[in-house]
Symmetry: C2
Subunit: 235 residues, 2 copies
C-alpha cells in the first residue's frame, strides 16, 4: 500500500541547512550550503548515494543501506519549487530519482523528461494535487516528499504525511533553515503525535523513523501522583 | 572522573515546554505546562522518578532505568533561577535531587537546606563559578546541569558541557521553549560537533546520549565527487 513518506537529514538542533542564501555570491560557498553539506555528509559518503550520482566508491555500510532502501521504496516524488530549480543543473541529464517527480510551484512549465526514468512535472494547483498525481503513478510504492523543509511542513500540517524519517547528524548549528520550524501552525494546546517505528544508529548519524498518528490535544496531568491525565480545553 | 552533563526531554521539534507562561493564571494550566507534561510523561510514569517524588507505583522499565542511572551518576546539580523558583514549592521539604544544587541567579539569597541531602546554594557570580562549586562537592560523580533550557545553552555555548543526553518524545509541538534555540551564538560557518555514544529507544521516547567534542568550522565539500572537503574561511 502506498504511503506518503518524508526523510530529511537534520542537525541535532533541527536544521537541514544554514541561513537562506540570498542575492549575490555562489550558493556552493554560502553558509546555507556549508551547513547542508555537514548534515548530509553521512549520505554523500555512502555508496548507495554515490551510485545514484554516478560517482565511484563510497562506504557500503548501514547508512548506505538506508539510502538504498529509501530510493527503492519510492515510486514517485513530490518536491518543492526551490529544491527543483536548485537541483536542475547539478542533477544533469540523469537525476538520481529514476521516477516521476511532481514539483509544487506557482509557475506553469512543460514537463522535463530526463534519462533513467526521472521526469519533472510542474503542479500549480497545490500540494494535495501533487501528492494525488504522484500516488497515481507510484505503482503501489511510496510517494516520497523529497523536500525542501517548507514542503515537508506543509504536507505534515495538511495531515497528508504517513511516515517521517529523520537522519540526525551529531552537530549543533545554532542557526539556519529548520525542518520543524515554528511556522508549523498548530492550534493552542494541540500537537501532532507520532510513534517511533525504527531507530538505527551509527557513529555518524541517528536514523529515527516515525509513523504519524495525527493531531491530538495536549493533556494536563498531575505529574504522576495518581489522578491520571485531565484533558485541557483547546483555546 | 567528574563530567559536566545535561539531559533534557524534548519534542521531535526540539521544545521542552510550550510558550512561556506570563502574567496571570496558573502555570499548571498554561500551554507551557501542557507541552512540558507531554514531553516528560515518559519520566513521570517511571518508577524511578515516582520514587524520588514520593509517589507509589510506576513502570519499572528501561525508561525508569535511565532515570535511576542519571540520578545515581549526579553528585551535584547546577540549575537556572527560574527552574529553582518554580520547583521550590512543589518539590517540598524533600526535593528529588538528594545532592547539593547550585542555582545561577543575580539575586543573593541564603542557602536553603532541605531533607534527604538536597541543598540550594544561590550563586551570583556566573555559570562557571556554579559549575566549579558543584564540581568541588560532587565527590567524583558528575555535575548535572538540571536546566532550564537557557542554562543548558549557556553551558554548551561556554564549552563547559562534556555530555548531553536528549530524551526525544514522539510529538511535534509547533511552538514553545526550545532547548537548542537560535539564541545559541555561534560564529558564521562554525558548529559544535558531538559524537553519539548511546542510543536507547522505547515506543515512548528515544534516548540519545552525546559526548561534546567542541567547536569546529563547517567544511565545504564537493558532494562526494572525489576532491574531498575544502575548509571554508569563517567570516
Amino acid at each position: 500500500m502506498t504511503k506518503v513518506t518524508a526523510q530529511m537529514s537534520v542537525s541535532l538542533d533541527g536544521y537541514y541547512a544554514g541561513p537562506r542564501h540570498e542575492g549575490d555570491g555562489s550558493w556552493m560557498e554560502s553558509a546555507e550550503a556549508a551547513a547542508f553539506f555537514r548534515v548530509t555528509r553521512w549520505a554523500t559518503d555512502a555508496a548507495a548515494w554515490r551510485e545514484r550520482q554516478g560517482f565511484a566508491g563510497g562506504e557500503s555500510d548501514v547508512d548506505s543501506e538506508i539510502i538504498a532502501e529509501s530510493f527503492a521504496s519510492a515510486g514517485a516524488y513530490v518536491m518543492g519549487r526551490r529544491m527543483a530549480e536548485g537541483g536542475e543543473v547539478p542533477w544533469g541529464d540523469e537525476p538520481p530519482f529514476r521516477a516521476p517527480v511532481f514539483v509544487v510551484t506557482h509557475r506553469p512549465r512543460a514537463v522535463l523528461e530526463r534519462q533513467g526514468g526521472t521526469s519533472f512535472t510542474f503542479v500549480t494547483d497545490g500540494v494535495q494535487s501533487a501528492v494525488d498525481q504522484a500516488r497515481a503513478v507510484a505503482g503501489g510504492k511510496n510517494v516520497a516528499i523529497a523536500g525542501g523543509g517548507s514542503l515537508v511542513r506543509q504536507v505534515l500540517e495538511a495531515g497528508l504525511l504517513d511516515e517521517l524519517e529523520l537522519h540526525i547528524a551529531p552537530v549543533v548549528l545554532g542557526r539556519g533553515l529548520r525542518l520543524l520550524d515554528d511556522d508549523l501552525r498548530l492550534p493552542d494546546k494541540q500537537a501532532i503525535e507520532l510513534t517511533p517505528t525504527r531507530v538505527v544508529h551509527t557513529p555518524r548519524v541517528t536514523h529515527v523513523r516515525y509513523s504519524v498518528n495525527g493531531r491530538a490535544p495536549l493533556l494536563l496531568d498531575d505529574r504522576g501522583s495518581g489522578g491520571g491525565p485531565v484533558e485541557v480545553f483547546t483555546a
